[in-house]
Symmetry: C2
Subunit: 279 residues, 2 copies
């Protein structure tokens, strides 16, 4: 079962890497100078998630630069960096690789929405919930989960997806997107008494948070799709285990890179209508 998941992830990964490479090539054919750039704003050393993102960007040919703040940096320091990144026309996307407690309202909403390639600012979440995909960004992990749901042999249209655990925006984003692609969604807490019943009925189970306990495989239908999500940010994790979990990490990184390229091409288009702002 695990191997299947891993190869599904691999197939998706190959497709997203290929598409994104081609998108960069297309951009550069028309704008030879352009170089899409992802900036990672991090607190402390590199961890496995950053390694995955840098490797994936390397495969795609996306430029990455890192700003390393101290592990215990202040909100003001983060905001100061973000203001510089907002003003820098070379930067097309910013990955806020910060501890959850640093992702305050002020931090999340200081970053310009057009560089918020993780789609976690209030404006971009609102756009997604209202269904306006022409602006904003689909959170990369949501794209990855949807991709895996879509890759399943039997079409999942009309099928039921159970989301377990997780928090506000990501859970809502996933729910919106899954419903909009024609499936129904149930959600539940880890501690709920009805969890077993719901797992038994679901065509797919998406675990939004990792933990020590797992859902016993015997609960799920044999043909059910099971997806484990890493928490969106898990800065102290420093092993890449070669299960489907790290597969999803790679796929997420590839979708993040794709969002950077989208952002870059939107920026170019905007410049064409405002030539006086060209740098």
């Amino acid at each position: 079962h695990k191997e299947d998941d891993w190869s599904k992830c691999n197939r998706s990964m190959g497709e997203v890497v290929q598409n994104t490479k081609e998108a960069i090539a297309t951009l550069q054919r028309r704008n030879p100078e352009i170089q899409p750039l992802l900036v990672i704003l991090q607190a402390g050393e590199d961890d496995s998630m950053l390694e995955v993102n840098k490797k994936t960007a390397g495969k795609i040919g996306l430029n990455v630069s890192q700003i390393c703040l101290a592990k215990n940096c202040s909100e003001d320091e983060i905001v100061e960096e973000l203001l510089k990144l907002n003003d820098d026309p070379r930067v097309h996307g910013v990955f806020l690789h910060l501890p959850p407690t640093s992702l305050t309202s002020r931090v999340l909403n200081t970053l310009k929405p057009e560089k918020d390639v993780d789609g976690i600012s209030d404006l971009n979440i609102g756009r997604l919930v209202r269904g306006d995909v022409s602006k904003g960004f689909i959170p990369p992990i949501a794209s990855a989960v949807l991709d895996l749901l879509g890759k399943h042999d039997a079409a999942l249209k009309g099928k039921s997806v159970l989301l377990v655990g997780g928090h506000g925006p990501l859970r809502m984003a996933l729910q919106c997107l899954i419903e909009r692609s024609g499936m129904t969604v149930q959600t539940n807490h880890w501690n709920s008494k009805s969890l077993k019943t719901q797992v038994m009925q679901a065509d797919a189970v998406v675990m939004l948070s990792a933990g020590n306990v797992d859902i016993p495989p015997s609960w799920a239908r044999p043909e059910a799709v099971i997806i484990h999500c890493e928490p969106a940010l898990k800065p102290d994790d420093d092993i890449i285990d070669l299960s489907s979990r790290s597969g999803l990490g790679y796929l997420t990184a590839a979708y993040r890179a794709q969002n950077v390229v989208h952002s870059c091409s939107r920026w170019i288009q905007e410049q064409q209508y405002r030539p006086w702002r060209l740098h």
Copy 2:
């Protein structure tokens, strides 16, 4: 059963009207000049929903002014009015009483978020989903539904609420708010085969859209709370039926008025930190 709902609505209505009156009085004690103002931007004649809003504002002592565009007005005309309302410091809230097709992304996001007392702009929806209630506004109809759920004799904490029908942002807003107040949420389409089973299991059923068909009362548990929502905007409806449905309309209007007063008091606070922008 209907009468019960009506009297619950009436009780809530009395409380919100009273609180909002007092909030206005408090504002005016400190700022004798201030007069919270709701502007209704409408396309065509008054309908029953506007009557309800004007009556409710009258009860509260909230000033209301109306801008009546032609029934078939263009997006540009709406945007032009909104830009004027944005710039007018006397206006604290705008009720976009327009046909659903006129509520385009451009229209919704032209209105300043701080005057969007219905909480339907992307930024305000995102704030709500992310759980930041210090800015933005809870959509009045969501406040009204939550109020009724809370008014039930047995505490609904831990109970399950079924949302039937409805669309993106309002459904998501309600789901977030209901979950955050400790209940679990199921959602379903009107046409779903599992609707009957879900209704039978729910502690509360909220119908987000009205229709010709109703859920047979025999499906629901005898003690279940049943709430009918009018569609958020239903411009051609010109009868007020004296059921719980119009009760919810009044309660929604009262929460809209409350949001206008919130907006006004936020505006005053902001001016105190920026005295040079005082008018």
